[in-house]
């Protein structure tokens, strides 16, 4: 029984989409006893530290080819330049970090000999330094030894401003020093409870010093190995055609026993998600495809074919509606949505609360997301210790109407509410994307019933999500009343996700709209909780602080959660991929294998 599959089923039980009896019956069919099946469920419900996925093969290689289909073709192979998941995945085939995240958001050592902890002396009690011990005997694909010098070099390379590496954010203002050939120490200026950002996961992949030392800073683009990676990974580089094809072959000197299973790997890029799903599930031409942004209805239809199936991994990605705190229709010193203004309608908490009551999450989940989404009332949806149990959501047009009545918005002749001769009219924007437009329609309908006139706007994704300073339609400019999109949670710690709405990061003309607090929300209590959590070493207190942050957002109604999104992949029946909601699809590639019988 596949770990991921089991988890998907456990999650289904948790959400009530499969009943306990159905689960236990399926387990019995697989040869388990009923008490054992119940136990699995209990363990799954707690979802605490589990060992990483079981790996069955007893020898290296012999698994034939592994064929992957990424509908966005990777375009570069240097992890420090990777501009999206597609490039991170491509780099990850050849390069490795010190550790990666497993299914539950726990660390799993890759190039590290062990995970630092206070017990083994790796973590300083004041959380101001972390010492990583490296695995001995690891070799680069060209035979040179992997040492602490390589790790230190990666820090120098990424944090050199002239390199303009996207991985530099993982280091913050930390410094990295070599202790001995197989030990490195990361020193932080302030206590850093989330110390596992540098050298971990997608941005933590390590490139060899001996091949990149000459190409640091301004010359970074000229390195010949940007296109011919020489890493420590399970597969060695063979061929790369940007946007089209990546080929690799087994690394016979790989540092993990019995791994990898496949003899060759091929990653084909291009096309669209639906036809990728078809090539895996229906025709079986390929083994695995990532990121199935396809309506569940279509996937269910394809799955009747039987050559493949979809798999799911729960992380913390959240689709939400942000409420503008400032007035988008008034210009102050040449700036709309200026911090000097207050939103004329939405600054009344009763209106915001009414809006939160008008999101029919059940309908959105049922009609649009299916298995790929879960209803939620939280902005912060994982890992488990950080999830608030103090919030709840409901869909009620009556309650919303009552709140609006109380706020002084009275229905006019046309059914639209008015106050002081002004109509209750809101502009609701999002990016162009099937599920988002459908969600907009569902929300608009409910709002109409409550007497709110909602105007919908959709912007091409490449514009909406751009950092283009001159474009007024980006999400950061936020020249609308409401806007909806998804923020991915790229690691199992809330620090970056929650820091975004600190008042220090308000997006304004002054900082060229590069601030992450685009709803321009200012709340002293929230700021204080975020600041405290960033340096709080006690995990229980820290979790409480983030739960408080989440609850403040909920009480204030500035961020209305719509859907907790689940990662979806398509896999051949016999393939056993390791998919984690806390890592990229290929972050545990060395553990993938194929079962002899599907």
């Amino acid at each position: 029984m596949l770990d991921t599959e089991l988890r998907t089923m456990i999650n289904e039980v948790k959400d009530g989409r499969m009943d306990r009896r159905g689960f236990i019956q399926r387990m019995i069919a697989l040869g388990l006893t009923a008490p054992m099946a119940t136990q699995i469920l209990a363990v799954g419900g707690v979802a605490m530290a589990q060992s990483p996925a079981q790996y069955m093969p007893t020898k290296r290689g012999g698994g034939g080819p592994l064929k992957l289909l990424w509908w966005q073709g990777p375009t570069l192979l240097n992890p420090h330049f990777a501009t999206g998941t597609k490039d991170q995945d491509a780099s990850r085939i050849f390069y490795e970090p010190l550790a990666s995240w497993d299914l539950d958001g726990h660390l799993n050592p890759i190039l590290a000999a062990e995970i630092p902890s206070i017990q083994n002396g790796g973590l300083a009690a004041d959380a101001k330094s972390v010492t990583w011990k490296l695995k001995p005997g690891v070799k680069w694909h060209d035979g040179k030894p992997f040492t602490a010098d390589d790790v230190v070099f990666n820090w120098e390379y990424a944090t050199d401003p002239a390199t303009a590496a996207v991985s530099s954010g993982a280091f913050g203002d930390a410094t990295v020093e070599k202790v001995d050939d197989l030990t490195v120490r990361i020193l932080f200026k302030v206590p850093t409870p989330f110390w596992a950002n540098a050298f971990v996961g997608a941005y933590g992949c390590i490139i060899p010093k001996h091949l990149f030392a000459e190409y640091k800073g301004g010359k970074s683009r000229e390195a010949p190995n940007n296109l011919k990676p020489v890493g420590t990974g399970a597969y060695k580089f063979v061929e790369f055609k940007p946007g089209d094809l990546i080929r690799g072959e087994i690394n016979p000197d790989y540092h993990m026993a019995n791994r990898p299973y496949f003899d060759t790997i091929e990653l084909k890029g291009g096309g669209d998600a639906v036809s990728a799903a078809r090539a895996i599930i229906q025709t079986g031409e390929y083994d695995y495809a990532w990121n199935m942004q396809v309506e569940d209805e279509v996937l269910l239809r394809l799955e009747k074919g039987g050559k493949g199936k979809t798999i799911y991994a729960v992380g913390g990605d959240i689709e939400f509606i942000a409420v503008n705190s400032t007035d988008p229709n008034t210009e102050v010193d040449g700036e709309r949505s200026s911090m000097k203004t207050k939103h004329p309608i939405l600054s009344d908490i009763r209106v915001r609360k009414a809006l939160a009551l008008l999101i029919d999450r059940n309908a959105v989940q049922k009609v649009i997301y299916g298995r790929a989404g879960r209803t939620t009332s939280n902005y912060l949806n994982g890992p488990a210790p950080f999830v608030s149990k103090n919030t709840s959501w409901e869909f009620s047009i009556e309650k919303a109407s009552k709140l609006l009545d109380d706020a002084g918005w009275k229905p006019g002749a046309d059914g639209i509410r008015e106050k002081d001769g002004k109509k209750l009219k809101l502009l609701y924007q999002t990016s162009i994307n099937g599920p988002r437009q459908k969600t907009q329609a569902i929300v608009k309908q409910a709002c109409q019933k409550a007497g709110i006139d909602v105007e919908l706007k959709s912007v091409v994704a490449s514009v909406f999500f751009s950092s283009d300073v001159a474009n007024p339609d980006t999400y950061a400019h936020f020249y609308a009343d409401l806007e909806m999109f998804q923020i991915p949670m790229t690691q199992p710690d809330p620090v970056l996700l929650m820091r975004r709405y600190h008042s220090r990061y308000v997006a304004t003309k002054e900082n060229k709209w590069q601030g992450s607090n685009f709803p321009r929300w200012v709340n002293k209590e929230y700021d204080a909780a975020v600041d405290a959590a960033e340096t709080e070493v006690d995990p229980v207190k820290r979790a409480a602080l983030y739960i408080k942050c989440n609850d403040l957002m909920w009480q204030e109604g500035v961020m209305i959660p719509v859907m907790h999104r689940v990662k979806v992949g398509a896999t051949a029946n016999a393939l056993r991929p390791v998919m984690s909601g806390w890592a990229n699809d290929l972050d545990n590639l060395q553990d993938w294998y194929r079962e002899a019988t599907g």
Binding site: L69, T75, G169, R221, P242, V463, T490
Partner: protein
Amino acid sequence: MGQYVLRRLLIAVPSLLGISLVLFTVLALAPGDPFGDLATNPNVPPEIALALRAKFGLDDPIYLRYLHWLAAMAQGDWGFSFASRTNVDTLILQRLPTTLYVIGSAQLLALAIAIPVGVFAATRPYSIFDQIANTLAFIGFSLPTFFTGLLFILVFSVKLDWLPFVYSTDVKGTGIHWVLEQIKQAIMPVMVLGLFQAASMTRFVRSAMLDVIRLDYVTTARAKGLGQATVIVKHVMRNAMIPVVTLIALQIPAVFGGAIVTEQIFRIPGIGSLLISSILSNDTPVVMAVTFVFACLVVFFNLIADVLYGWLDPRISLR
């Protein structure tokens, strides 16, 4: 004649400059930026996106960026892709063989169908054969390639499981097996494109033939007692092919430009799919290079067509 060619060449230079200026301005004014993906990622500090923009010169004024591009292009430097940081010429050369193979085969297929069918239909206008050919041609060019492509996939890949629908540049095997695999995976895209082209070309060949077939000299040839085949092949076709040859010459740039839709459907790594993915990621240098090459080809083949006209009908080059 030489003067005529020279004159046409001199006109081509300013028109290419004009085209490049328009292309560049439109691209520079287009919204979005190549590092948009970084904007919602909480792990990437916004300063990095700003630094990248500055590093790649995206914040310079448009005229300065254009002059840089022009100067580099004049020295044969095509620039590098923002997305893959690879040189643009490498990217294009990597994709060109596949495009030429698939789109070229489709054009050949189209010709192989269109000329005989068009000629035969024109010799028997309004016969059953002509009616059927016409109907099929109308159906053929009214069905868009994205529709027929999907239909082919559903029938030949999903239902019958005969052909693969993901085009692979990395075909395993050697010798005859390799050749067979290459042919097998190209069948669907070539058919989809070829039939679409053939449909419109058939109509064109037929009408060109009909124009000539009614002329007096054809009647004279028949009156002299020449056989039907000789009249059609030697007298009619030779003259009717002049506009057809021009049409083909003007379509050759399209062979190099790839077929955007078909390449996307079958995941053919050709120029067309390179263009579309670059447009989606706002990768200006690649879009600029591909569209400019395309413009050059159009101008060049126009020139050839002009010269060809001049050679076929000397009165044109004297004017």
